[in-house]
């Protein structure tokens, strides 16, 4: 499904310096897999995820999704691919504070030329029901707990029925119990919807049987399961 071939990413810094976040990484994640990318802070795992999702252009190498080179697409095509094929869950609070939970979940459906699809509202309500927040449709993010906000983000990531779900340290700001609930939700969605899941975390304890682990350090893959 996703293939990274000899991918390198160098970020330019001030005064002519630069930092190489990912060095010559090649990895393939197949459809239906549940891959966990682990590593310490600064190991390049978030950058690897961003490269795989087409959120940042590789300095060298190639990134393909279902055989299509993401960076040979126009901005419109690339955005469409992200919108339809990939669901994203971020580490930081990523809900728009001025929209309700329901409106946040509908958001990915309005980027098309024709605006929101007619059944988007119903689909969004169903998604929120699915993640256990059916009674929180008109709540604003500030009225929700951290765990509840992440559930809304997960619902949002699934609104367009993607094949791939990417999560960048989705539980790092949550307590242990909520963390377990969220990971449980990911597993449930993986098995029931047949999603390919790529989860980035610095917590080895989240890796469970049935998951493939990919360990990164200093921009390279040091161990792949």
């Amino acid at each position: 499904m996703i293939r990274l071939q000899d991918v390198t990413k160098v970020y330019p810094l001030a005064k002519g310096h630069s930092v190489t976040a990912v060095r010559g990484v090649s990895v393939e994640i197949g459809a239906g897999e549940f891959a966990v990318i682990v590593g310490r802070s600064g190991s390049g795992k978030t950058t690897l995820l961003n490269l795989a999702a087409g959120l940042t252009r590789p300095t060298a190498g190639r990134v393909t999704l279902d055989g299509v080179d993401l960076w040979k697409l126009s901005d419109q095509e690339q955005s469409y691919t992200r919108n339809r094929k990939i669901g994203f869950v971020f580490q930081f609070p990523s809900l728009l504070p001025t929209l309700t939970a329901h409106e946040n979940v509908i958001l990915p459906t309005i980027f098309g030329r024709n605006g929101a699809e007619p059944d988007a509202r119903d689909r969004a309500a169903a998604m929120l029901e699915r993640v256990g927040l059916g009674d929180k449709l008109s709540s604003y993010p500030r009225q929700l707990s951290g765990g509840q906000q992440q559930r809304v983000v997960i619902a949002r990531s699934l609104i367009n029925n993607p094949e791939l779900l990417m999560a960048d340290e989705p539980t790092s700001n949550l307590d242990e119990r909520t963390e377990g609930e969220i990971v449980g939700l990911f597993r449930e969605l993986h098995s029931s919807l047949g999603l390919t899941v790529v989860l980035v975390t610095h917590t080895r304890q989240l890796i469970q049987p049935g998951m493939r682990s990919i360990e990164m350090a200093e921009g390279r893959i040091v161990e792949a399961g």
């Binding site: 609070p93 500030r142 929700l144 951290g146 700001n173 949550l174």
Partner: protein, 146 residues
């Protein structure tokens, strides 16, 4: 937002009460001399005094909103009072009492337009307050645990 609108209402009330003191014809040294030689105030002066009656309820309503009035119903009541006060403030110099006859007298040049402006501002702010009034929310528990 309610606080801002409340502050605007209070300022409008102050303008209604204080502006006539400095802008009626009496402040310009103009009086009406009656047939027997006595000097009496002209009607613009009485308009100015009557404006205090409009200013007081407006100020009270504004203060309630400004100082963080918590109940939606009471805030809306304050807004209604504000609208009514603003309307009275406009009617006083136009229909109820009026100002002097000549267009170039101080009360017509300054006092009347200032009172009408303050009255309009009071009505607009009070109307806005009516629609933004809501019961104060209870604060939510912090979103993320340490």
């Amino acid at each position: 937002m309610s606080k801002v609108l409340g502050a605007v209402m209070v300022v409008a009330a102050l303008v209604l009460a204080i502006a006539p003191v400095f802008t009626d014809c009496q402040s310009d040294g103009k009086w009406l001399t009656t047939a027997n030689g006595k000097q009496v105030s002209m009607k613009c002066h009485w308009t100015g005094i009557a404006e205090i009656a409009a200013a007081i309820p407006l100020a009270i309503g504004g203060l309630y909103a400004l100082l963080g009035g918590r109940r939606k119903e009471t805030t809306r009541l304050a807004a209604i009072v504000g609208v009514a006060s603003g309307a009275v403030a406009i009617l006083l110099p136009t229909f109820l009492i009026g100002t002097c006859g000549s267009a170039t007298m101080t009360c017509n040049l300054l006092m009347r337009p200032i009172l009408l402006s303050a009255g309009i501002v009071a009505i607009v702010a009070s109307t806005a307050l009516f629609f933004v009034a809501r019961d104060q929310e209870m604060p939510v528990a912090p979103a993320a645990a340490a």
